[in-house]
């Protein structure tokens, strides 16, 4: 990271989208979560600088935005991997072998849940119920639900992640 890195900023089109989202709600603050999703997609994660920038778009304090960002599990305050592998470890998945999947991933990736591989490829998480219990054990890999997993099936999925 360069010392002269420019502060985070949305493009003109994105700013128009921010205004559109804000106009959908009786109080523009309702658009905070959607705009934070946009910010994370744009900047990779939501740093303190991004929080301050987003706060400015809403006339909110940076403290309020920080409170929101830290409350939700899908917002990352630190750089995350290029891919997210989130294995459900709630009851139905637990009964169907989630502990074995988690142990397998720990060995295979050499990291614990919550960590990212050194090459920045994968962030590995153990998460609460993703509500696909009929296909347990399962995981969310980026946007997709991967169902009825086995260690072998998970390995094949990992190989496809660049």
């Amino acid at each position: 990271m360069s010392l002269t890195a420019s502060p985070p900023a949305f493009s003109a089109d994105q700013l128009a989208e921010v205004r559109r989202l804000q106009s959908l709600y009786p109080d523009r603050r309702g658009a905070l979560l959607p705009v934070l999703h946009m910010a994370q997609e744009t900047f990779g994660h939501i740093s303190l600088d991004v929080e301050t920038y987003v706060a400015g778009l809403f006339g909110l304090s940076a403290a309020h935005v920080h409170e929101v960002v830290t409350f939700y599990t899908l917002f990352f305050q630190e750089p995350k991997g290029r891919h997210i592998v989130a294995v459900c470890h709630n009851l139905s998945c637990h009964l169907a072998g989630a502990p074995e999947l988690l142990a397998h991933l720990k060995t295979r990736l050499g990291i614990a849940p919550g960590e990212t591989t050194d090459d920045g490829r994968i962030t590995f998480q153990a998460v609460e119920c993703l509500c696909a219990c009929e296909a347990a054990p399962m995981a969310q890999v980026d946007d997709r639900y991967e169902l009825n997993l086995t260690p072998e099936k998970l390995d094949r999925i990992l190989e496809g992640l660049r």
């Binding site: 979560l33 939700y72 119920c129 509500c131 969310q140």
Partner: protein, 406 residues
């Protein structure tokens, strides 16, 4: 077998599209409802005995009637699609396979409560359901179904179980952390953005078009004495065919497990979580219970979101409680002290027992702590944790004691 009401369209190819939904009679109920007075729609839903299918089981028509009659400002309809109760996956199916059923239900509900703006709060992890539902909303706008007196905003959550609690959901929708609010005032009086608001579950609203189309008496007759209709039971865990099963709410738990192919693994039933992770557990001897709101209540448990998790003889009850206790510790929003502190400590204690370092006294301590905190918090989250803590230990104490070293 009862006829399919909610899953009637699931088998049609491209069931999620407007064209296919219309081919099978979609939006006819809305055409009928728009000729009715709002009060007549509320009455019809009251007569149908429809009860909320998200968890609380509150009568839907009665909830709608709580909007103040003299209110002249905006009224909001909020759809709770923040499905997150462990063992529940029905709303995902509805959003993906029949999104227009929800939109039609929203149109009718909005007319009943005189709302011009609806929000659909979809859990952040449901990316595909969110895309699918958003596409259906766009179709509905393009066809002129939306945008003429009623608008819909699709809102993505960002990962927090507590936002499934209706006032936590409202806080989140307002751009805050999802802290539940003190009731009263109830949302129908002062909800989202401080205006009267009705929060309904996805499946609840999907029941509304069939009620309007075929009549309250028909819907009521499908169910039990105090609850109308069918509902979608999510069945998982140790059964041969896990999945969503739609059936009359008068089915028994034993019949439902049979519908799902019976018990897998050892083939011998040990226990069942009948209504999502927060429901007190039932033993193998307690499954002749009727799976409606009042049946489960009488059995000392709750139907909740109708997420049924089956545990066979080889499943460990202490491990199951540890997994759920971890969930409650992780998801407690931190607002109320009894919940924030107890969920963390109880998880540590159950974990210690499962690891073989517990004492029998710990079991009494957990039950005591759980009891003291029950009913002392702003929302029902902690009570939902207390049910499992106490019932798992009381009904399977021996199994816990075997793991204790003293």
């Amino acid at each position: 077998m009862a006829e399919l009401v909610l899953m009637r369209n699931f088998e049609h190819p491209a069931s999620h599209t407007l064209a296919v939904y219309r081919q099978h009679g979609g939006y006819a109920a809305w055409e009928k409802a728009r000729q009715l007075e709002p009060a007549a729609i509320v009455d019809e839903v009251k007569q149908s005995n429809l009860r909320g299918l998200g968890g609380a089981g509150f009568p839907t028509g009665a909830k709608w009637s709580f909007i103040p009659k003299n209110h002249t400002g905006p009224v909001y309809l909020v759809v709770n699609a923040d499905e997150g109760e462990p063992g529940t996956f029905k709303d995902r199916y509805l959003l993906e396979k029949d999104p227009h059923a929800l939109i039609e239900g929203m149109l009718i509900a909005a007319r009943a409560i005189r709302s011009a703006l609806g929000f659909v709060y979809i859990r952040g992890e449901y990316v595909q359901p969110w895309r699918r539902f958003s596409a259906a909303v766009k179709e509905a706008y393009d066809a002129g179904l939306l945008g003429h007196g009623f608008d819909v905003v699709v809102h993505r959550g960002a990962g927090a179980y507590i936002c499934g609690e209706e006032t936590g959901l409202i806080s989140s929708l307002e751009g805050k952390k999802g802290w539940p609010k003190v009731k009263p005032p109830f949302p129908a009086i002062k909800g989202a953005f401080a205006q009267p608001t009705i929060v309904n579950n996805v499946e609840t609203l999907a029941c509304v078009p069939p009620i309007v189309a075929r009549g309250a008496a028909w819907f009521a007759s499908l169910g039990s004495k105090t609850q109308g209709g069918t509902r979608m039971y999510s069945v998982s865990g140790r059964v041969k065919h896990p999945g969503v099963y739609e059936t009359s709410v008068s089915i028994t738990l034993r019949q439902l497990i049979e519908r799902a192919g019976g018990v897998s693994h050892t083939g011998r039933l040990k226990a069942v979580v009948p209504g999502g992770g927060s429901a007190p557990i039932l033993t193998a001897d307690e499954i002749d219970v009727v799976m409606d709101v009042d049946g489960l209540k009488a059995a000392g448990s709750m139907i909740g979101s109708a997420g049924v998790i089956v545990l066979d003889e080889s499943a460990s009850i202490p491990e199951a409680l540890m997994v759920l206790a971890r969930f409650y510790a992780h998801e407690s929003c931190g607002q109320c002290t009894p919940c924030r502190e107890s969920t963390g400590w109880i998880y540590k204690m159950v974990h210690r027992i499962v690891d073989g370092h517990g004492r029998k006294d710990d079991l009494d301590t957990i039950v005591d702590v759980a009891r003291r905190g029950a009913g002392t918090t702003i929302c029902a989250f902690y009570d939902g944790a207390v049910g499992p803590y106490i019932s798992y230990i009381q009904k399977f104490r021996q199994e816990f004691e075997l793991l204790c070293r003293s």
